[in-house]
């Protein structure tokens, strides 16, 4: 991911829709999935994905090629998703999103047994992630799910590396405690 040439970016910034489509296909997977994890809702994730790419399209001319384009896109996506989540929390309490559940269940895995285990893990993870503070959740998602290094997370969230470390620590401790509580109940 992130292998977009400066030529394509220049054409996209000049309004070439085909070039921008390449940018979309390169990053839409990340943007959509991080949006789902932050908002916990597929409908909101679609909105966030659209908003993110419209921001990218409008700001492309201001991207100076000084930093990594991937980091730049990730930063816009994460901030858009966090802001959307904050505003939607104010508007309404969270609801069960059947579409997200259905999408998750549709994903194919090797065997039926694996499928059940993974679905349980995924559902459990989703419910545990919802309990975390948004800033802790974002750090954990970027690290655990997207596999970004600490320095990459620093570049996206504009926070010191020690803050990344402490947020990951707190998020993981909370998840460990949550998992243990669930396992004790079973």
């Amino acid at each position: 991911m992130g292998e977009i040439s400066s030529e394509i970016l220049t054409r996209a910034s000049n309004g070439d829709i085909k070039s921008f489509e390449q940018v979309y296909h390169e990053f839409s997977d990340f943007v959509y999935n991080i949006s789902i994890k932050i908002t916990s809702n597929s409908h909101d994730a679609e909105e966030v994905t659209q908003d993110t790419f419209m921001k990218i399209y409008r700001k492309l001319k201001t991207f100076g090629f000084c930093s990594s384009f991937k980091t730049w896109v990730y930063g816009i996506a994460v901030n858009t998703a966090i802001n959307y989540q904050r505003s939607s929390i104010k508007k309404e309490s969270q609801q069960v999103d059947f579409e997200t559940i259905a999408l998750t269940l549709k994903c194919n895995t090797a065997t039926a047994e694996d499928n059940i285990i993974e679905q349980e893990d995924s559902a459990q993870l989703d419910s545990l992630l919802k309990e975390l503070k948004p800033e802790h959740r974002v750090c954990l998602i970027l690290r655990e799910i997207e596999g970004l290094s600490y320095s990459e997370i620093v570049g996206i969230l504009f926070i010191p590396v020690n803050t990344v470390r402490s947020r990951l620590k707190r998020a993981r401790e909370a998840l460990m405690a949550g998992r243990e509580a669930i396992n004790n109940e079973l």
């Binding site: 309004g15 829709i17 285990i117 993974e118 995924s122 993870l125 799910i145 460990m176």
Partner: protein, 150 residues
Amino acid sequence: MNCKKIQELLITDYLDGELDQVLCNRIQQHISGCIHCRQFEERIVPFHGIRHIEPPTRVWENICEKITTEQMLPQGNWFEYLLERLREFLLIHRQPVFATVTVFTIMVIALMSIQGQIKTDTGGIVVEDFGLWIDEENGAIGTAIEEYFL
């Protein structure tokens, strides 16, 4: 390093591969001799079942539509743009617009004439609403046209 520091590193840098080999070796040495830290490490379970979901195709379709709309918008004066769009609209749809305006005008006139009905009073004529008036002293109505109709 004490157990607290070791456990902090276990749950962060060690787990995420952010430590150099020397520090990793020191931590592993500590774990091999410390039951508490070993138990702590065993509690750290990596995530399973995290899968990426592809965004629906309608997301790109919506983005594409928005971009196309934006590209049609002018970069400068919005007022001129709106006037231009209105002019284009009227040129294309002049017949339905003319018909709508005509029907609307007729309806307004009809409504006004119903509301502005004339009431006869004892010996004279009283006209209500819509600016019609009676010269009470002379018993005459405002204009010759009004007199003709009333």
